[in-house]
Symmetry: C3
């Protein structure tokens, strides 16, 4: 099977991030890498979770999933609001102008939505 | 770009409302007013947040977004459950028989779903 | 009207379950039983809520909704993670290999998504 899906984070809630990462790992096990498209979009306070200085366990998992094709997007509006710089964030993250707009576009293009 | 999206609230959580309102403001900045369609549906305890007597800051924001075409729907089932009257609610709110049914219909008609 | 919708639970949060069950009851009142399709998918910690030994009030409601065609799915990955056996769970539950995959498939097949 192939899956198109976007996971949405918006709280500074490490548990939600961990759940999302586990969800994605489980989904990858069942997925054709060819047809699948898996995104995580972080806006609001949740952008904190993607700082370079954040706990290393999640960083290793995020990097591993990224090499398997999972895309991690963080919201520029939220970086501005909380005074983070793009360079504070994990290099593998893609900065999008507005996380909410990205969530809309991905769903319109056929992605399922999951809020862990 | 134009966006079709519904934001869902169901807790008496002012932070979720504030996040939703900020999300909508950011989306409007990126949006053609012509083609876009932005809804907020409140059911369960979240209907409390749309009472006239509720804090004025959010009311001003809600009114401003409403003049820009954003639709605010509150659930009649939830009003009944918590003994609120339609007249307790902000006049600009549209009362729908069941918030959940509205969420289904909007998604079926092509709206993305976002739970702040 | 007929409705196609999936409700997603992932926390050990009885309030979210209760809200979801009330949502479904309200939706059934407005729905043609013929065309509608209503699912609840539980993954993560929320699988605890579907154990046989769990509180009886919800069990009665779940059983009643199930006789009306509502499908309750629980995630095998989550059962494994928390060391629950399928036989610990309410007999009416359908065990799916991965709750997240089920959520994707249902949305792809036209179900709206609701996170109570």
């Amino acid at each position: 099977m192939s899956y198109k899906v976007v996971f949405h984070l918006d709280l500074d809630d490490e548990k939600a991030l961990s759940m999302g990462l586990v969800n994605i790992k489980n989904l990858l096990k069942m997925s054709d890498s060819s047809g699948s498209e898996i995104h995580m979009v972080a806006n609001g306070e949740s952008v904190r979770l993607f700082r370079k200085e954040f706990c290393e366990i999640n960083q290793a998992q995020i990097a591993d999933l990224n090499t398997k094709g999972v895309r991690f997007c963080i919201c520029q509006n939220s970086l501005d609001k909380f005074n983070y710089k793009v360079t504070d964030m994990l290099d593998l993250c893609e900065v999008v102008p507005a996380g909410i707009a990205e969530l809309c576009l991905l769903q319109t293009s056929g992605c399922a939505y999951i809020k862990p």
